[in-house]
Symmetry: C2
Subunit: 366 residues, 2 copies
Amino acid sequence: MTVGIVGAGQLGRMMALAGYPLGLDFLFLDPAEQPPAAQLAPVLKSAFTNDDALGTLAGRCEVVTIDWENISVEALRKLGRETRVSPPLRAIATAQDRVREKRLFEKLAITTTRWRAVSSRRQLDSAIADIGLPGVLKTRRMGYDGKGQAVLRTAADVDRGWTLLGQVPLLYEELVPFDLEVSVIGVRGRSGESQVYPLNHNVHSGGILRLTRAPYGNARLNRLARQHVLAVMEHFRYVGVLTIEFFVRGGRLVANEMAPRVHNSGHWTIEGAVTSQFENHLRAILGLPLGDARAKGYSAMINLIGAMPGRAALLRHPGVHLHDYAKEPRPGRKLGHLTVVEDDAGRCERQARRLLAELAPEIHIP
Amino acid sequence: MTVGIVGAGQLGRMMALAGYPLGLDFLFLDPAEQPPAAQLAPVLKSAFTNDDALGTLAGRCEVVTIDWENISVEALRKLGRETRVSPPLRAIATAQDRVREKRLFEKLAITTTRWRAVSSRRQLDSAIADIGLPGVLKTRRMGYDGKGQAVLRTAADVDRGWTLLGQVPLLYEELVPFDLEVSVIGVRGRSGESQVYPLNHNVHSGGILRLTRAPYGNARLNRLARQHVLAVMEHFRYVGVLTIEFFVRGGRLVANEMAPRVHNSGHWTIEGAVTSQFENHLRAILGLPLGDARAKGYSAMINLIGAMPGRAALLRHPGVHLHDYAKEPRPGRKLGHLTVVEDDAGRCERQARRLLAELAPEIHIP
């Protein structure tokens, strides 16, 4: 049984590592020279939209999935004529377009920020008149890790933001004064069966996730997040793993965005949950029974960004699990992550803080 | 950093799966057409003793290890002139020869069975006169999974056993009326640092391991096993994972044999220990700090032998972890294993019995 994955980054790599024990084979499609998954599975080296490569992938794989959501939906639609593609293209298309995403949240009664679509300077001014400053100007498409965004606080910011981003369709939304950021990860199988992981508490710095703690939050907040992710998955008759990121403001969830895939904030599930997000994604898209999404103890996940610390220095911390993505170092690049799992929440937190103090002392940890 | 592995079976495969997250590369050497590790790492297809292939392996790998102990020590010695080889060849040579192994146990005051070396029919008769019947006649070399052994209870058995095995050097030992079989897995690093996993309780059928429960036994038995594995590792200045199998007779340990490698009875450590035996073997041979060998809860590991059950049927049991080795089915062949991990010993046992009743109802589980 061969699983095709469009995109051979670290998410695809971790999917393959989770899938080999299930007896699966993998075939990737990626234009990069030596993407992270290439070390452990064959890769068709090609543009994501190349018809020949897509044809080969479709012909050799029982099911095709993605490791990156900004993939051409047109290309995936072609694939879908020849093989099964999961998650559903409508969900991927919605996640690619912040306006469709906002409309979906509103339709499903999931609280989100106030927003306006912006495709001209006049519309931007009118959006600011409605929503006020400060706010965030974002490209409708192709945003990730804080890229394609500008925070507008002053009239000068508005000019700069428009100059920077005004060439493409945009969205302007209120800047939410949030207490913290969380995410919820759900998985839905072909039969409609679902599992939802406990909430993740995510700490960002410079637009990049640095630390995730899980499980996070009280039963009420977890129940609410669970309802939301189940509602989105039902809406799409979704198959696979889906993530929604929220701001928490005064104990309420405000949806920020969704990702139709396994997610950085769920990497702790490899060691910290009964079944990892990667294995559950594969189980879902193959029509297999889903695995238990419960957490085992308390986990903290720390991203390794820009430079890879020495292996020995990381591993001398007892109980640290290292995940090296085999990527070339580059400033701001996610090169790997660490996970610690402890029975005791306090011990987990102390371990995480000790590691972060050593690895990234510049980061403020709330 | 490339790790060379002589033998590309399921043990090598699971080593690679444990090593990729550490940022390691792998290169295997194996004569088989499509060995289990070939799915996820390059394999030099060659006889284990081929000088050219061994030269390539040595040239491309910072360290070389084994996934099978019946490898030519001469070939490994050649490798050792060009690269680092772990575990030490003396330990591998000892594990390959039941007579050297028995002498080692005796030297280190590790209780073992009464035994005699046998290389003629006359010596066999004399060994039986000393030790009595019943007993077990075993080839000195190349035994595994109950192969190369004959239980002798009657004079007719003695004739049959001699006819079957008499062409090669043998060992005759008493048949131990044991209560149960256990194994201990230790790991020792280059610096002399060591970790020992808790005892495994192993249930065999037809000479093949079917079920392992861990952690097993009281503190006294664990302490004793720990002393023994530490003594053997110290003796060899061992580097890597080492396993010793024991019979338990009246609450005492009687050493049966040792394996200079990761072991089937330690597969539960992938999900059930803080650090798996595979990761710890790699850490050891690379001179990295060892990981914590403590168990997380209670584990049961069930081997899948001869035929692979359907994936969906296995995965519908909540919390079951499947490990499929991607091998062609063949009677008596180890094709994969299942692990369950539970906080509660009783729940773990019920899960294991439920699975075994479904998969191998013919096996008697003590």
